[in-house]
Symmetry: C2
Subunit: 343 residues, 2 copies
DNA sequence: CTGAAAGCGCTTACAG
DNA sequence: CTGAAAGCGCTTACAG
C-alpha cells in the first residue's frame, strides 16, 4: 500500500531518478529510444503518479490559484468562478474557492493561508478593508487581480462592470417609456463597495441628463431585512415613484417579494427594472427587463490577466482597470400598458 | 525580495531550525521562555510565513480537499459547496472546486490530478462511470465520499436525498388536493443518475399507493432543449394531465418558461409542483409548492464523513449511505381554486 | 532544553 | 545520452 515514488520507478527501469524525471518532464532531447521505453513501461507497470507537492516545492509553482468571493451563493460570483475554473482547467490549474463574507478578517486569513500554501495567484472580490495587505502583495509582485470592486490606491488589474453605464441604461429605458418618477433601491452604503456607489452615482447623473430633479426620498439604501419596510414607506409617499430601479439581484428579489405580498401589479401599478439578470427574469410575469453583466467574460478576463502576470514580470508596471459593458435585456416590466408617452 | 525561510528565522534568533520548527508546531514542553521569545521576535521581525508546501511534503497532509460537482452553476451544488467550505474553514482546510460536467473523462482527470496534488480527500457528485477508479480509491483506503448519487458496487460514505420520499410527498400533496391525472417531467434517463431514477420510481410507487393507474404517456423524459416540445405534446393529449411534477429545478424552469410563453395559468389550468426549492418559488405567481432538499445539512454531513475518514482508519469497514429527508413547502401552485374534492 | 542529521519526493545544473 | 549530488523548506526521531 506504500506510495510508489520516482525512486521505485528508477529502480524498476534500471535507470537513475534523474532520467525518470527527464522523462516526466518530456525532456527527450538526449534520451535513447530504449531507455525512454523502459521508463515508460516501469511507470505503467507501477501505476506511478508523481507527487506534485514535491515538484511544487522545487519548482516554486503549484499550478493552483485562489479565488476569494464574498459569497459563492451569489449568482454573479458563481458564474465568475465557473468561468475562471474553466479557464484554469484548460491550463491545467486548479482553483481553491473561499468565501470571505465581506469580512476583512476572514479575507486576510484566506489571503495569508493561500499564500502560505504557495498558490500562484489570487483573484478576489476585495472587501477593500485590508489596504496594507493589498499593498504588500503589490510590493512583493505577487500576482493578483481584483474583481467587481475597485480599491482606492491599489494599482492592480481589476475587472468590473461599467456601473455608471448600467444605471444609465436602466434610467434611459425608463425615461424612454415615459417614466420620470424613478426610485432607486440599494443595499447599505456604509461600506463603500464600488458597484453600489457607482450605480447610485450613475442613477443620479442619468436623471440629471434627462433634466429630472433628484428626489432624495426616492433613493433607498437599506439592509435586505429592512427593505420591505422601506419599500412600504416609499410607496406610501404622497407623491410615490412610478418606476423602481433595483440595484442588484438581491434587492430585486426583496422588491418582488414585497410586490407579491401586497398584490401590487408590476408595470400597471409600478414599473420595475433591475441590474443583474436574475435567472427567472424571462419566466416571471411580467417578464423582467434587466441590465445584465457579462459574468463569464469577466471571469475569463480576470483569469487571463492573472496568467499574464505569471508569465511576464514586466506587466507589474502597468496594471489596469478593465470595464465591461452591461447589456440591457428588454422584456415587459417597464413598458407602459397604454404605450405611454414617448416624451 | 527573497522569500524568508525557517533558516533565516533560526539565524536571526540564534537557534537551530529544529527549535524554530518546534515553536511553529507549538511544542513548547521543553522550551525555555527565553528562546521562545527570541524565536517569536525573529518571526515577527522577519514577517516569516512558513511554506506549507514544504510542510505538506514531510507531513503527508495538505489540509486541502477536492470537491467535484457536475456544475457549480447548479443551485444545489452551490449550496453544498458553501456548506463544505464553511466546515473546512472551521477546520483550517481549503477546498478545490472542480466541474466535471457529467463527463467521466473530465472526472477521472480531476480525481487523478487532485490525488497527485495530495489532497487529503475528495467529495464528489460521481458521474458513476469510472467504477474501476472508484474501486481503486477504496482499496487504497483513500478518503472520499459521494454526494447526491449512489454508485452500484462502490461501498463508500454517500449522502443523498430520500428521493423516493420526495416524489411521494409531491404525489401525496397533489392527490390530497384532488388531482389524479399527474404527469412527471424528467431529464434524460439514458445515464442512470440516482436522483432521476429514484424520483421516477417514487412517483410510480406513489401512484400505485393511491390506486392510480400509471399512464405511460404522462411520464416525459427529455433533454432540456426538447422539453418544451414534449410538454406541448403532453398537454395536447386527448386526456391531458391536470397536474405536473417537475423532477428538478432545471426541468421546472423549462416548464415555467413554456407556461409563460403559452399563457397557461398554473393552478387554474394545470397544477404544478417541483422537487428542489427554486429561489423564486415564493415570489412567483402563484407561489410554487416545492419539495426542498436540505442542501446545507447534506454538504455539512459529507464534510463530516470525510473528516471522520481522515481520523479513524477503522471507518473503512463500515462506510454507509445517509439519506436526508426532503421537506414539502406548501404554497399555491397545486391548490385547487374551487377547493377541490378532498377525495 | 536544544541541535545535527536524515528525509519527504521531486528537479536541475553539471560532469562524464 | 545518463547519473551523482545538491537542494527546495520543512519535520522528526535521536543524541547530548
Amino acid at each position: 500500500m506504500k506510495k510508489i515514488t520516482i525512486t521505485d520507478v528508477a529502480a524498476r527501469a534500471g535507470v537513475s531518478k534523474s532520467t525518470v524525471s527527464q522523462f516526466l518532464n518530456k525532456r527527450f532531447d538526449y534520451m535513447s529510444k530504449e531507455t525512454k521505453e523502459r521508463v515508460e513501461v516501469a511507470i505503467n507497470e507501477l501505476e506511478y503518479q508523481p507527487n506534485i507537492i514535491a515538484r511544487s516545492l522545487k519548482q516554486r509553482t503549484t499550478r493552483t490559484i485562489g479565488v476569494i468571493v464574498a459569497n459563492i451563493l451569489h449568482d454573479f460570483s458563481t458564474r465568475v468562478i465557473r468561468a475562471i475554473e474553466d479557464y484554469c482547467h484548460e491550463e491545467d490549474y486548479h482553483v481553491i474557492v473561499c468565501n470571505a463574507d465581506d469580512d476583512p478578517v476572514k479575507e486576510k486569513r484566506y489571503i495569508d493561508m493561500l499564500r502560505a500554501k504557495q498558490v500562484d495567484g489570487i483573484i478576489a472580490f476585495p472587501t477593500s478593508k485590508n489596504t496594507a495587505l493589498y499593498q504588500d502583495l503589490i510590493t512583493e509582485h505577487y500576482p493578483f487581480v481584483f474583481m467587481d470592486r475597485l480599491v482606492p490606491g491599489i494599482e492592480t488589474d481589476t475587472v468590473l462592470l461599467n456601473n455608471h453605464e448600467a444605471a444609465q441604461l436602466a434610467v434611459d429605458q425608463l425615461v424612454a417609456n415615459g417614466y420620470r418618477k424613478i426610485a432607486m433601491l440599494a443595499p447599505p452604503l456604509y461600506d463603500p463597495i464600488t458597484p453600489r456607489v457607482e450605480r447610485i452615482e450613475g442613477y443620479k447623473a442619468s436623471l440629471e441628463t434627462h433634466d429630472i430633479c433628484l428626489n432624495s426620498s426616492y433613493v433607498i439604501s437599506a439592509r435586505l431585512e429592512e427593505m420591505e419596510e422601506q419599500i412600504e414607506k416609499l410607496l406610501s409617499l404622497s407623491d410615490p415613484p412610478e418606476a423602481i430601479l433595483a440595484l442588484n439581484d438581491r434587492v430585486m428579489i426583496q422588491l418582488l417579494q414585497y410586490v407579491k405580498d401586497k398584490q401590487i401589479r408590476i408595470s400597471d401599478d409600478v414599473a420595475v427594472i433591475g441590474i443583474d439578470d436574475v435567472t427567472f427574469a424571462s419566466l416571471y410575469t411580467p417578464a423582467l427587463t434587466t441590465i445584465a453583466q457579462p459574468a463569464f467574460e469577466m471571469g475569463k478576463k480576470a483569469a487571463q490577466l492573472l496568467f499574464n502576470q505569471f508569465h511576464n514580470e514586466a506587466s507589474q508596471g502597468n496594471r489596469r482597470v478593465y470595464r465591461f459593458s452591461p447589456q440591457i435585456i428588454i422584456r415587459e416590466s417597464c413598458k407602459r400598458k397604454e404605450n405611454g408617452a414617448l416624451q
